[in-house]
């Protein structure tokens, strides 16, 4: 089976305007993936399915991943402007500077494609939304693989990614009137705290918020 790199080149050769980059997977599993731009996603998917060499005729798994916005502190080396009296032989001084850079978050949908006919795979496609708030739309691949129908509805339900072209985009696991998207990292659980006899750590702080400490219970230590 071709490596992601070769597949990327063949896609670029075929679709001139498409942006496809290989995302390397540092882990030992070494399952590298192809980050595909939303514009040509459906066309690329159809190509992957119908290409005689690949024949990726089934989409085994559709996963939503939430990458919230992060602040990265980068150390940037900038050559110091040489003072006048410094001797030319000495190397120019370098100062390191820490600048905070805000990496915008995005909602990502990962497709694991396999070929039942040729018995190979996985080819992993990644589609990322522009950001996590306003435009969270991605092209749906259900017209290409019927397998994505329920799984894309689940990603819509739990992550809030709106799939254009999906035949029946409704919530699949939560009830229809539910507002939020529970699998997002910044999802705040409803505060319907129910009494737990052994509260400690995070549950303890919630317990204390709900039940103001009763007077003068025997003095007990509690570890965070």
């Amino acid at each position: 089976m071709e490596t992601p790199g070769q597949i990327r080149d063949r896609i670029l050769a075929r679709f001139s305007g498409a942006e496809v980059t290989v995302v390397t997977n540092p882990g030992p599993a070494a399952q590298h993936s192809l980050l595909v731009g939303a514009a040509h996603a459906t066309a690329i998917a159809t190509f992957l399915r119908d290409d005689p060499v690949l024949q990726l005729d089934t989409c085994s798994n559709v996963t939503g991943v939430d990458w919230p916005g992060r602040e990265i502190v980068e150390t940037v080396r900038q050559p110091l402007a040489p003072e006048e009296d410094a001797d030319p032989a000495a190397p120019p001084g370098v100062i390191e500077e820490k600048i905070k850079r805000l990496v915008p978050g995005s909602l990502e949908v990962v497709y694991h494609l396999y070929s039942v006919a040729l018995k190979h795979g996985p080819v992993i496609l990644r589609l990322r939304t522009a950001d996590r708030a306003a435009n969270v739309t991605l092209p749906s691949l259900t017209p290409v693989w019927r397998a994505c129908e329920f799984q894309e509805r689940e990603v819509f339900d739990l992550y809030g990614v709106k799939f254009t072209g999906h035949p029946d985009l409704r919530r699949i696991l939560m009830w229809d009137e539910f507002q939020h998207h529970p699998m997002r990292k910044d999802y705040v659980e409803p505060d319907d705290y129910e009494w737990e006899p052994t509260p400690h750590d995070a549950v303890l702080t919630k317990a204390r918020r709900h039940y103001p400490a009763p007077p003068a219970a025997p003095e007990e230590e509690s570890t965070p």
Partner: protein, 232 residues
């Protein structure tokens, strides 16, 4: 022939009907309260704490309140408070060891991660109570059972654990003897067994990475469960 499959089916049910009267393999019901099936040795239900000396069940608990099981327990159903004497020095004994068996999923991960073989899985399954709040919250006294009981329910496992503990105690004694005997030797040599000892100590009670925080929040951690709060 049209009816042959049906007749075959009738023959099978007839064989089972007749078989249920004489063939034990075809009569599988054990009528629970009167008859009971023999539990396999590895059967596990809810955990219990092992103590060595039945005379003082709460004193000789093997548990040193290191809270590893509290952290590793997936449903977070264990609550431990270490006992401290008046000066605040840790006595390495659990003052409070609550285990809520309405939350516990009996997955025995606490047994697996406990370095002191202090918590083991019980085989007692008739523990239904009427009181939803207090009844299913087992305190240290309810949990603590003797090592003899442990031998009774998990014989081979208990034997293995005892052997390991005995061998460990022997190593410790040997190390102490080695440390006491070569006292007059140069101090350098004592350093190595000391570190070995402390290493063993740490093996015995590897304090959690963060040293137990000195100050504890003033409010009592465990709101009295006596009167269940009204449901919100």
């Amino acid at each position: 022939m049209l009816g042959s499959g049906l007749l075959q089916g009738l023959a099978v049910t007839a064989k089972n009907l007749a078989g249920s009267f004489h063939d034990p393999a075809r009569y599988v019901t054990t009528e629970y309260p009167e008859q009971r099936t023999k539990l396999p040795e590895n059967y596990r239900n809810f955990p219990f704490l092992v103590h060595d000396d039945p005379a003082d069940p709460n004193g000789t608990l093997r548990c040193v309140a290191c809270q590893i099981c509290e952290k590793e327990c997936p449903p977070q159903c264990i609550y431990i408070v270490m006992e401290r004497d008046e000066k605040g020095k840790a006595l390495r004994r659990p003052k409070v060891f609550d285990l809520d068996i309405s939350v516990c999923i009996s997955c025995q991960i606490c047994v697996e991660v406990c370095p002191f073989d202090a918590i083991k899985m019980d085989q007692e399954y008739e523990i239904a109570t009427r009181n939803r709040f207090g009844g299913l919250l087992l305190h240290r006294e309810d949990l603590s059972k003797s090592n003899a009981y442990y031998h009774q329910i998990h014989p081979t496992e208990a034997a293995g654990v005892d052997a390991a503990l005995a061998e460990q105690k022997a190593k410790q004694a040997a190390a102490k003897a080695a440390k006491a005997a070569p006292a007059p030797k140069a101090a350098a040599t004592t350093a190595t067994p000391a570190t070995a000892a402390t290493a063993q100590d740490s093996a015995i009670s590897p304090a959690p990475a963060a040293p137990p925080p000195a100050s504890a929040p003033d409010t009592p951690a465990n709101p009295a469960p006596a009167n269940p709060p009204p449901d919100a």
